[in-house]
């Protein structure tokens, strides 16, 4: 894994069921190509995402974590993404403060109709994490 020539970024994408997951589906149905680096975890809503998920994923060996849900105002549960936005704004800033590259934790919105955007997000995230190289900090060596 540490061998850079063969190393491929591993990204954990935690996405909400109602928008981003459906967006990913649309990207698939429309046969849009995007890098295979993201492992998708489907949750009911971004409000369900405990900031610990992000930290834990980084500890267990993810090179980057992407969180994505419905655009503000479009959350299936009305306000899940609005409170999530507050948590993640602070989490991102805090991770950066303690010295973890801020591109390792990415937050965005992708709606169910944005298959194109989903592919772009995965591509963009993969590029950003690739530029950082393999994660070294907080990673548990087992």
């Amino acid at each position: 894994m540490e061998n850079n020539a063969e190393w491929e970024p591993k990204i954990v994408a935690i996405v909400c069921n109602w928008c981003t997951y459906a967006g990913a589906d649309l990207a698939g149905i429309s046969r849009i190509q995007y890098p295979p680096n993201a492992r998708i975890i489907r949750v009911p809503c971004t409000g369900r995402i405990n900031p610990f998920f992000v930290v834990k994923a980084l500890q267990e060996g993810a090179d980057g974590v992407l969180v994505s849900g419905c655009h503000p105002g479009e959350c299936h549960y009305i306000s899940g993404n609005l409170s999530a936005r507050r948590k993640f704004a602070m989490l991102k800033s805090f991770l950066n403060y303690i010295g973890i590259e801020s591109d390792r934790a990415l937050f965005t919105w992708v709606s169910a109709s944005e298959g194109e955007r989903f592919a772009k997000v995965i591509k963009g995230a993969t590029e950003k994490v690739r530029a950082l190289g393999p994660a070294q900090k907080l990673v548990k060596k087992i």
Partner: protein, 333 residues
């Protein structure tokens, strides 16, 4: 001031206005004060309040109330009795009480706040350093001076130089809410440079920040004293001990300690009152405040939220808006 405090506590207990008064009393080690629970009006004599009182007593208020609730779980609701807890509270303690009230841990009628002004407390680590780490045999506090007796002789120290870091920049040293206040309001501390340390740290290169974090967390022995003393940490079951899922490994792995700390610290986002209790109980001298203060600053910068300074507000993460002023952190491919 102490005589009024004792008299007030005595009257409250005699008049059955409160069931218990949580306050400070002389500790068993010289130059320390420890928390005390007074239920007998005659014991009110034991109460003290001075610059050696360091712990945030809001923790014990929560403990008494929740234990009282748990003990009555099997009674019919109409037979349950509330306990009224009186508490000697300075600025940071009242902020914690406000936070507990905002988070609906108890109701306002379950607590009786005896507000006291605060001019800062002595950081025991600074005190110990000032006497070169030698044993303190005896000591006293008079005016702005601390007299310390060590095996090497007597030494007189300046109180102002021994105050804890959080006290030096405290912006809320007088009670935010109270039922009774004792003494004159304290003079403001120098809070203009409150976030200076955080700003300086944030300006360091990323790798230096990480090595500082890693170095500090290396010291941590995960005794959980910081969590146990914190008035904002009151979950009956902490993530640190959960086994399904197991968030934190139990071994000596450095990343487990980092993750434990990172998560405990992040739980304080918009909830830390900077009382310094965790810093003062840490046996290993971990610089927790460097990180906690950042969360304080972010909550203020991003959401204009400050923990427990207003009963009507809510903590940063209990509020949300359609539009926030900071959305630049979002990733745009």
């Amino acid at each position: 001031m102490e005589s009024i405090l004792r008299k007030t506590a005595k009257e409250l207990l005699e008049g059955k206005k409160v069931d218990v008064v949580v306050g400070y009393t002389q500790g068993s080690v010289p130059l320390t004060m420890s928390p005390v629970f007074i239920t007998n009006p005659d014991d009110a004599e034991r109460l003290v309040f001075n610059a050696l009182c360091s712990q945030n007593l809001a923790k014990y208020v929560h403990d008494v109330i929740s234990q009282n609730r748990a003990a009555q779980k099997r009674l019919k609701p109409e037979e349950r009795k509330k306990k009224v807890v009186g508490v000697v509270a300075r600025g940071c303690t009242t902020r914690s009480l406000v936070l507990n009230l905002q988070e609906k841990q108890y109701t306002r009628d379950e607590i009786f706040i005896i507000g006291v002004p605060c001019a800062g407390y002595v950081d025991q680590k600074k005190l110990s350093a000032a006497v070169g780490g030698t044993e303190i045999l005896d000591g006293s506090l008079t005016g702005g001076k601390v007299t310390v007796k060590t095996p090497a002789g007597e030494k007189s120290l300046v109180l102002a130089e021994l105050l804890a870091d959080n006290c030096l920049v405290c912006a809320y040293n007088n009670p935010i809410i109270s039922d009774i206040t004792i003494g004159e309001p304290a003079k403001p501390m120098n809070s203009a440079n409150e976030f200076k340390k955080v700003e300086d740290f944030a300006a360091l290169p990323l790798e230096e920040r990480w090595s500082y974090f890693a170095k500090e967390m290396e010291k941590c022995i995960r005794c959980c004293a910081c969590r146990n003393i914190c008035p904002s940490c009151y979950c009956p079951e902490c993530f640190a001990e959960q086994s399904m899922p197991q968030w934190v490994g139990v071994g000596a792995d450095a990343t487990d300690t980092q993750v434990f700390q990172l998560m405990r610290l992040f739980h304080m986002a918009g909830r830390c009152v900077d009382c310094g209790s965790c810093v003062s109980v840490c046996p290993m001298g971990v610089d927790l405040r460097m990180f906690l203060k950042k969360l304080d600053k972010d909550a203020l910068d991003l959401f204009d939220a400050r923990t427990g300074i207003n009963e009507k507000d809510l903590p940063a993460f209990s509020v949300f808006k359609e539009r926030e002023k900071n959305e630049e952190f979002l990733f745009e491919p």
